[in-house]
């Protein structure tokens, strides 16, 4: 269906290859930041947060309104989005998750599904389904070139933030006492409690941290993506794929899986056909899950 991207006689273009490679890496890093919170929550608590995509949407609205009303650029308002989503994550745990844990196995999942519906419809009602795009941001329209490939500054900055935040989360979990407590809680909650760990606080913190990660992502994305009540849907789906592909609870797995998905999406989209890019993503996911059901780095 799609015409070949390389016109006759042009042959293989290094700049095209580089462009596709960079686009894939930038998309992948963004997916990693969106997915890392989901992975953490699942790994520690065995809870699938169905409202994860809507958390992203809320973060984008916060950043958008801060830019639109207060004139605060997404380059700075990401912090506010992150903090707000940390609080929203904590509240979600306190009000919804805590009450549904230990009941029917599907209870937390259904509860977060309800939350996702509430958030989406609330934003639809309050903000209308209109697409809202911030104009006049510091990074808007800025690009730089590497070997003939054009890199968008907003996407590049978001990707750098993503890498830094994911590495910080990794460091927190692997190298700090709090992280060890998180790992201990994930491995055996009762044993962790016997060792004096307040698992309740760990759960609360993990849900907040998951929210903060997606909050930072959403806050920065407003600099180049339009906000609307459905914006989180596909990101949410891709995040689930990233988490399952990387292995539930594995941060490095989420990072590598997200990069893989970004690259597959980008290369398949350009060298096969744009319309098959998500087909390729889900095909890779299926293959990995069939060969290694626990994901690339799952326990």
């Amino acid at each position: 269906m799609s015409a070949p991207p390389l016109s006759e006689g042009e042959g293989f273009s290094v700049s095209n290859f580089l462009q596709v490679l960079i686009d894939g890496i930038l998309s992948g890093l963004l997916y990693a930041l969106v997915a890392v919170g989901l992975s953490l929550i699942w790994g520690v608590m065995d809870v699938i947060n169905f409202a994860h995509g809507e958390f992203l949407m809320v973060a984008m609205y916060i950043s958008y309104w801060m830019g639109f009303i207060l004139g605060i650029d997404p380059l700075f308002s990401w912090a506010a989005s992150g903090i707000f989503l940390f609080i929203l994550g904590c509240l979600t745990y306190k009000v919804i998750i805590k009450n549904s844990l230990g009941k029917a196995a599907m209870a937390p999942l259904l509860a977060t599904f309800g939350l996702s519906m509430f958030l989406k419809n609330f934003c639809m009602n309050r903000f209308t389904p209109n697409f809202r795009l911030l104009s006049g941001t510091i990074m808007e329209g800025k690009t730089f070139s590497v070997g003939g490939a054009i890199i968008s500054v907003p996407q590049f900055v978001t990707a750098v933030f993503a890498l830094v935040v994911v590495m910080l989360v990794f460091w927190l979990v692997k190298k700090t006492r709090l992280g060890w407590a998180i790992q201990a809680t994930a491995m055996d909650k009762e044993a962790a409690e016997l060792m004096g760990i307040d698992t309740e606080k760990i759960y609360l913190f993990v849900f907040g941290l998951g929210g903060a990660c997606v909050g930072i992502a959403g806050g920065l994305m407003t600099s180049y993506l339009a906000v609307h009540p459905e914006v989180g849907s596909l990101f949410s789906l891709i995040s689930f794929v990233v988490v399952a592909l990387g292995g539930f609870g594995s941060i490095q797995g989420a990072l590598l899986a997200a990069l893989l998905i970004g690259l597959v999406e980008s290369f398949a989209g350009f060298y096969i056909a744009a319309v098959v890019k998500y087909v390729a993503v889900f095909a890779i996911y299926l293959i990995v899950i069939l060969v290694r059901p626990k994901g690339l780095f799952g326990w």
Binding site: A3, F131, L133, S135, Y224, A268, F270, A273
Partner: protein
């Protein structure tokens, strides 16, 4: 015991009374229910909400006395001697299966007399099939897939110019530019959502391009609601066609424009089907980035000032208070279809579906909201009077550039490159 009985008697009495009151209210309220089936949530929700608002605006035009508006049915109150139009809203979320089940619900449970919808061609197709099977009227405003009126349906009527009409107009304009402005447009790129609408638009674009010898060098379908359009735009850029025809709705349109800016590429000319291009809300968000793109339209405030003064009155009185913006080319067509249906009912003098269908099939309906001034349907339901002009947007104003008899601005050609814009 006695007090319990007395209490029960009282409750039954109240229930009976309220039921009777309800029945008498229904008898007093003479209404004709019309379903408005649009994507009120999902990726195309912005456009769907606008369409519903347009239908509600025309319902007000019909239900209330509007002697200041020179359109059929405006001066009187209701139709058939006092019947009011009641709009029953329904949401198909942009999903064909939901559109089908909602159409069934509207006809069977809500007992609507007809449905107006559905914006997305992919949703209109199954919903109108439900109507055809039930022998109920389906009025379609802006779904543009040519296939919809090629099914030989009897109860389906569509206002919009089809993608076939727009494609022919696009290549005619390219031919004009090549001849008169020495534009040198020889190659064409297509970018379209991978849906009923997008695929049919692309089919018609290929047919029209072949007719005039335009070579298609990039053919890029994409999944709507995508997280990015990087590879899609990169594919276009690599092929570097002189012209691009686009079929991207709402948010996908703004993402497409922004991604082209990001990779610093533009064709000489970009022409859009019924897409986000036509949506003032999308253009407002794009601001200067939306400038110099072109597209087919049946309405713009600028066109209305010259050719549709009555539409402006309806817009100011009933539409803008709901939508906070002027009509757009899509939404107004849904309103037109309610106006046409109401005229047909009034002419029939009853709610006899077969009689109304006969009138719809044979008569011409004047409508001050239509660019052509009237609506007349061919067998299959296509509006023979459908008219579309090519506009170019600059500073969020749509100037008409083609056909020449409607032209009111000089086109900016080729498009101003991103790095040369202020």
């Amino acid at each position: 015991m006695r007090s319990n009985k007395r209490c029960m008697f009282f409750i039954v009495l109240v229930l009976l009374f309220s039921l009777m009151a309800g029945a008498s209210a229904m008898a007093a309220e003479k209404v004709i229910k019309i379903g408005a089936l649009f994507p009120l949530t999902g990726p195309a929700a912005v456009s769907g909400q606008n369409c519903v608002n347009a239908v509600l605006a025309v319902a007000d035009l019909i239900n209330k006395k509007n002697p200041d508006i020179n359109m059929p049915l405006a001066a009187q109150e209701g139709i058939l001697g006092g019947y009011k139009i009641e709009i029953i809203k329904a949401d198909h979320q942009g999903k064909p299966d939901v559109a089908k089940s909602e159409a069934e619900r509207l006809y069977n449970q809500e007992k609507v007399f007809a449905i107006i919808g559905c914006y997305n061609s992919a949703a209109t197709k199954p919903a109108s099939a439900v109507a055809e099977r039930a022998k109920k009227i389906f009025m379609c405003g802006c779904s543009s897939s040519a296939a919809l009126t090629e099914r030989g349906y009897n109860y389906f009527f569509r206002h919009a110019p089809t993608d076939a009409i727009e494609s022919d107009e696009f290549v005619d304009y390219i031919g004009y530019l090549n001849k008169e402005k020495n534009a040198g447009i020889k190659t064409l790129g297509l970018i379209y959502e991978n849906t009923e609408f997008g695929k049919h638009a692309a089919d018609e674009a290929r047919r029209a391009a072949k007719k005039v010898g335009l070579k298609i060098t990039a053919d890029v379908p994409f999944n709507n609601g995508a997280t990015n359009l990087n590879s899609e735009v990169q594919t276009l850029k690599a092929a570097n066609p002189d012209a691009v025809f686009g079929a991207a709705l709402g948010g996908d349109y703004s993402l497409w424009v922004r991604t082209m800016k990001q990779v610093n590429w533009l064709p000489k000319i970009a022409l859009n089907y019924c897409t986000g291009y036509q949506n003032p809300a999308v253009q407002k968000e794009l601001a200067g980035d939306g400038d110099y793109f072109m597209g087919g339209m049946g309405y713009s405030p600028e066109l209305a000032k010259k050719f549709m003064p009555e539409a402006i009155k309806v817009e100011k009185k009933y539409y803008t208070p709901r939508s906070n913006q002027p009509f757009d080319s899509d939404s107004i067509q849904e309103g037109i279809m309610l106006h046409v249906l109401a005229q047909a009912i009034e002419k029939a003098g009853s709610l006899d579906t077969e009689k109304i269908v006969k009138i719809l099939q044979t008569e011409e309906f004047p409508c001050g909201m239509a660019l052509s001034g009237s609506v007349k349907f061919a067998p299959g339901g296509q509006n023979m009077k459908a008219l579309s002009v090519i506009t170019q947007i600059k500073d969020q104003k749509y100037g008409t550039v083609f056909p020449l008899k409607f032209k009111d601005v000089e086109p900016v050609f080729p498009m101003v490159p991103w790095d040369k814009r202020k």
